[in-house]
Amino acid sequence: MALNNFIYPESFLRVSSDIDFLIKEKEYSEIKKTTEKKGFKESNFWLWEKQLFYHHYPILEKNVNGLNCMIEPHKELIFPVNPFEIDLKEIWRDRIEINDIFIPSIEDSLILTALSSVYQHNFYGMFEGLIDAKNLMKKNINYTKLKEKTEKYNVIEIMIYFNELIKEIFGNGIKGIKELEEKADKKKLDYLKEKSLEKIIKIQDKKEIDSEIIKNRFYWAKGIKQKTKVLIFVLNHKLLSAVWKIRKRKKI
């Protein structure tokens, strides 16, 4: 939502489903207390307790005029494993303040937008990400910093691919990203380039999206340890979803 107000002249144009924020573990209980004073309550606690490698604390909910307002207090940005070298400390350090709200720097926002579209959500909502990027590009970007972060966070291939889509749609890409091509892993780049504009525009059903997300997470996971963690995460999630559905059916 903060990104909304910062990059969109008319923030209502963007679809918002919940309020996401990243918190520091030691501040969670105080943050929870504050939200509870504002009428939010923890939800799905039972389900959350049984999650392995959870990336956010229990969802907090509040009903406002019939709308279920949800807050997702994140403890991680990339989950269940971080095959990249996203440096949360650096993201915290470089944050900027917009109307009392802290958001990642423009350079970090661009990288996180690309990662969210290409990796985390596996192209679902891709065009939202591309329009976000176009709007971020109108801001004062430090291109040297952006290139350094792209290398440091090990997201060269993701940024090159994302940049090519931006160029294909809007004509101009992000300055300096193409120069990183010689440092890119060709196999990873080819894997991404298989997802052409014609493919990612197609509507996928939930099952297709879920299976693609799993495939994608497996592909990027580094070594047996990370791949095993992804497998356990997926199996745990599937089991919990099935139990959740049965409980819901019984209630009905």
């Binding site: 909304n4 679809v15 996401d20 924020f21 990243l22 802290f102 990642p104 891709m126 525009i201």
Partner: protein, 93 residues
């Protein structure tokens, strides 16, 4: 690409022609815009003279829902973040 996808891309690129509006299944088109989470953006770019009254109403209805939700979420977020700031709690949105 089908005709709905072609119109969708042309609107984003900003090089849409009247021909792009031909043979559109508007229900599918609205689904596509919603799926890619840019209904409001797309609605603003559409040439309303080339669309039926029924479709305009359908898009406006969907946008009203999105805008109401946005306003409610925005209000809640602003009020929460003011509290967090008072207590010097660190959050990144």
């Amino acid at each position: 690409m089908n005709s709905e996808e072609r119109l969708f891309i042309a609107l984003i690129k900003g090089n849409v022609t009247a021909k792009d509006y031909e043979n559109i299944d508007w229900n599918e088109f609205i689904k596509l815009a919603y799926y890619h989470r840019i209904t409001g953006f797309i609605a603003k770019k559409l040439n309303k003279k080339l669309i039926s009254e029924k479709t305009i109403k359908q898009i406006n209805k969907l946008n009203k829902i999105i805008i109401s939700k946005n306003l409610i979420l925005n209000n809640e977020m602003i009020s929460l973040f003011k509290e967090f700031k008072k207590k010097e709690l660190n959050l990144l949105q």
